[in-house]
Amino acid sequence: MSNPNDQDSLPLGYQQLLDGIPSTVLMVSESLRICAVNQHFLEKSRRSERDTIGRRIMEVFPRVILERTDLQANIEQVFRSGQPMRGEQMSYRAPGISRRVYFYSIVPLSCDNGSKRVMLFVEDVSERARLSEEVRRVERRLASVVESASDIVLSTDNEGRIRTWNTAAETLSGLSAADVFGRWFAQLCADEDCEEASRVLAQIKAGSQSQTAEWRLPTGAGQSLLVSWVFSAMRDDYGEMIGMVAVGRDLTERRELEMHLRQSQKLAALGVMAGGIAHEIRNPLSTCYSAVQFLDDPDLDEDLRRECIDKIKASVEKASGIIENLLRFARPSADDEMQETDLCAVLQDTAELVTNQVKVQQISLTLSLEVPHLQLRAIPNLLQQVFLNLLLNAINAMPDGGELRVDLRQVQNLALVDVTDTGVGIPSSELQKIFDPFHTSRQTPNGTGLGLSICYSIIQRHLGSISVTSRVGEGSTFRVQLPIL
């Protein structure tokens, strides 16, 4: 579609080519008159060829566009310089329609007859502009989610080198994003966790879904934070791993709360044992008192005098042994140190703590250990609290006496501890709930309802599990499974 009077009508093939382009293409003469135009422009501008060709561009383009883009000046500039002008964007909003964004460029052409023309390309990039704005908006939103999180959120490349580090990470660790960028994640962890951190990242790289861990994060000046981490792989649209994401939560507060909870539960357990403790201490006291009364007799024979002294010594040792055990149990303990622990010794010590109580309730306690020692990684004080809770629950379930068994077996790489009583049993309707905090049975109205929920969380922390089977009127078995070294 060209003006036959302008002597530069396009050969038919070229015109067809122009009409096939899904963008606006115009050819403008030096007098700023339109000498050729493609179909796309006519459609978009709703003009006919007749009232377009030969018109000056000022008559054809809307005034707003002309003003915004300085189109006329730009075209004149290209005529003057002979250099193309590329990559200008203009946006235009007509009343009642959504904003359009155009991308245009002006290219000089020289014709055979020496006259000059420029080609004006205008492309509607509204949709593209909208999409990229949307992408930027989503990016900004995601960034602000990550930045607003109170948890550490960081990402690494495939080798485990840190690429992003959010505000919470900066605040908690005291290290700025610039400090850590490019450093190995594992090297930021405390020395003792460094090796395990490398191993976990390697597992993620090898295709493991996600991994959790509790490691210390040094915060400078010899201080550190206990952080619960969740690691997962970051993948692109094609499923290729492009890095790792780690989310870390500061456990300090939760740990403190748990510690208080355990401590109060411990004291409650001591209350339950008070009767047995009193019994066990009053016996040696009584022996001492008798011995002293014998010693008070000036005519006492030498053999009995000797016996009295021995009895006093032995009784004092016995009573202080009982008190020492209790105090060791009652003392709040720093609880973060997992250490190599002999499960057998823990079970023996715990059984020792309840011997008084089983005695006053006519319960026979049998401790059956399949092996003399069984090493696992544990916090001994916490494990003892678990087994003490289970034993005291069993004792409470047998107000009229009975049998209490503790069986330790090793099955492959698991230690199985069964605590079995012949007590009242637990109704099946309650079995689901007994590990919930504050759930108590009617049989033990003085319980805090925390014992089993604390057992559950302690065992979970040891990567083990706890379960129960029970029959009303026959008794219950609590099974604790723990991974061994």
Partner: protein, 135 residues
């Protein structure tokens, strides 16, 4: 001085030692046993003028044992000695009132308090059963 026969049932060897040393011949003839079941079978064959029971035996509760002994020997003079109960415990008060035991002595006890408790001539109000009585 007439010899008084005494059966002691306590599973604490040290308590048995002290009571044995206290209740010596010629005033007393003492037999000590460790469990309720031993005591019951012994009482089928032999009777004792005084019976001292610990309240918490491995195989049964001293108060239950007292009731069963009472069935075998309605005239037995039973003294409950305990490191578990105090004299104002409901279970002890009830047992004294019902007559399943005659006296209660809390551990640790003064020797005089135990001797008084074994003597039916002395009233229970004279201090027997008070811990550290006589001090």
């Amino acid at each position: 001085m007439r010899e008084v026969s005494v059966l002691l049932v306590d599973d604490e060897p040290d308590i048995c030692w002290a009571i044995k040393a206290l209740l010596r011949p010629p005033g007393y003839r003492l037999l000590s046993l460790n469990s309720g079941s031993e005591a019951l079978s012994r009482l089928q064959q032999e009777s004792f003028e005084r019976i001292i029971l610990d309240a918490k035996l491995q195989d049964m509760n001293g108060l239950d044992l007292a009731e069963r002994i009472r069935l075998l020997n309605p005239n037995a003079w039973i003294v409950l000695v305990s490191a578990f109960y105090y004299r104002d415990d409901q279970a002890v008060i009830a047992a004294l009132r019902e007559g399943s035991i005659q006296r209660f002595v809390a551990k640790p006890f003064s020797h005089q308090a135990l001797l008084d408790a074994l003597d039916p001539e002395r009233s229970a109000a004279e201090g027997a059963g008070e811990p550290l009585a006589g001090r």
